[in-house]
Symmetry: C2
Subunit: 357 residues, 2 copies
């Protein structure tokens, strides 16, 4: 749409002229709240996050709760819709104020149809008509993409990757995935599964992964592998810190291992560094392939402590060619949990305005 | 430019209306020889290839000769210009008939400036003003890019990759490099060194590479590694076929090893399969990252025999996730030696017509 059309439709307001910097004075345009809102939904493997945002991506309100994506599409989408209705009620606003709905899902998405194709960790979701689930309540169009793609896009548009044309986003949590910004655009690949770096083999003799291959990065460096290894070392009495923690908690999550490392436990630190080194070795390859100018690390494990990021950095810088790593910052996500809904808001807003992102 | 402008400039001719297929009859446009020619130069590590092409990429005449890029820019560019002058003389045509010059070089290129930056195998070429070398003789603009990028572009526009939006081209010769077509465009990365897959580590305990790291793909699977291993096995008497061949030739090239494999020599076959397996393992990772719909294998070693391609294929199909490899052909280059000059012609033609490729 042209700016004039947007002004006429009430999607933009003109706030008068900006101060001159010598040339022609430009108009200050902004998006009024009355233009309506974007509904952004981020379905993770173990959570639902829902937000209302302005058309420009600014988050108005956001809510999340734990959920198991394996419960299947009907109960999960029912819960997402209920959360969305709550947020709208509180505004107050209604379904007719929603201009577009953007949604991230933890699997490969066929863009045109807006359906998942053979998602490995989402039983029951294969080809499920997600858009149809909203059709009864919302007239707004629904745009769906892979969750890590949307985190990359969110970070690119509203986070630490603003203005960076070639960027790699890596999510390290229960699984490991990547999102690629190439020449300023989200690159999805042929079946929407570009950036699926969790199943790159890092050790042919490594443990069997859920995908059936052995030694996948995800099977050796994601949160479950960190936890499993920490529990083993605790039980074997290698670390009194870990053993004491395990006795208290009953079971670990990755954060517990991070805390043990931060109080100086050698075993915990060793586990975290091992994970960082494996991820770094894969990223070194990706640097050779993609020659990005920024790598952003997000997901729950990214918050585990400085030694994790430090190990990723030193491995990448050591193994990549100097030309590709000169001026290559490797940084933590700025948006953290809201990267996904920010990206979902971007595809929804651009989709409804027909702007190719 | 618009079609009408091209017609007025004599760069297009109108050959009348096409037969109707029911709708409005379309014009048959073609590019006349009188529109001028594109000069395409492909500098390899060990060769110079020069071609004259029509504006649409069709090769009019092509010539190549051995050369050592390490001789430095002055003698190499002098030779390229001499070959180009010969081809023009034979047409007959002159420098003023050259609309644009496209050139491929075996190193990372800074697009805007048209210069090489710290090219690892091109001593003396760092920041050399290549365009300036043509300025005295040609008024035509000079467009420069990495040789493997141009092979990928050539194969995408005029070879087996026509119409394929997401494609990976891999050159296996003295070195190993890749070129990436993403969403229909050549993806160069931040410093022009995207696709530099030869220096991905495949074995931390492997031999030291020219880049200083150990176990790079290139150091273990390119032509010199194949030759070295074949010579070792010949000398150690493991293969009488190889030993006899070595006695006859004095030294091997990769083709000799291919010939030995084709007559059924187990050791030669084993070496070739080993190389294919290493390349396949890296390509399996790239399939996860890029989710292409076609992989094209080119370069001298690609012609070494079917078992090489077969081993690459089986390794990729075995190690990648099924979703990414359904309908993923892995094929040999169609253009072979002319892939590079075809790509050079494409960037030159599009550069001079200001079409973003």
């Amino acid at each position: 749409m042209e700016v004039q059309q947007l002004l006429e439709a009430g999607l933009l307001v003109d706030n008068g002229l900006a101060k001159s910097d010598g040339g022609r004075r430009s108009s200050l345009l902004s998006i009024p709240r009355s233009a309506g809102v974007i509904a952004a939904v981020d379905l993770g493997a173990t959570s639902i996050e829902v937000a209302l945002t302005k058309l420009g991506g600014e988050i108005l309100v956001c809510r999340s709760e734990p959920a198991d994506i394996k419960d299947g599409p009907k109960p999960i989408l029912r819960r997402a819709k209920a959360l969305l209705a709550e947020l709208l009620d509180e505004q107050p606003a209604g379904p007719r104020d929603v201009l577009a709905i953007g949604m991230g899902v933890p699997g490969p998405v066929e863009q045109a149809a807006g359906i998942l194709r053979s998602p490995p960790i989402m039983p029951g979701w294969d080809r499920f008509p997600i858009r149809g689930a909203f059709a009864g309540d919302y007239a707004a169009p629904v745009f769906i993409d892979n969750d890590v793609n949307l985190m990359a896009l969110g970070e690119h548009r509203g986070g630490v990757g603003r203005g960076v044309d070639n960027m790699l986003f890596v999510k390290v949590g229960t699984g490991i995935g990547g999102g690629i910004i190439a020449d300023g655009h989200l690159y999805r690949g042929t079946h929407g599964c570009a950036g699926d770096i969790g199943h790159i083999s890092v050790d042919p003799d490594g443990p069997i992964c859920t995908c059936g291959n052995s030694g996948c990065l995800e099977a050796m460096a994601a949160a479950p592998a960190i936890v499993l290894e920490a529990e083993r070392r605790a039980r074997e009495g290698l670390s009194t810190v870990l053993a004491k923690k395990l006795e208290e908690c009953g079971e670990f999550d990755a954060r517990d291992v991070g805390e043990a490392a931060m109080v100086g436990d050698y075993e915990a630190l060793d586990i975290i560094r091992g994970s960082g080194r494996l991820i770094g070795s894969v990223l070194a390859s990706l640097v050779s392939v993609l020659n990005p100018s920024l790598i952003v690390i997000g997901g729950g494990v990214a918050q585990i402590g400085h030694s994790f990021l430090a190990e990723i950095r030193s491995t990448v810088y050591q193994r990549s060619l100097p030309l590709a790593t000169r001026n290559l910052p490797i940084v933590l996500s700025e948006l953290e949990e809201t990267a996904g809904v920010t990206g979902a808001s971007v595809i929804a807003a651009e989709g409804v305005l027909s702007v190719p992102e």
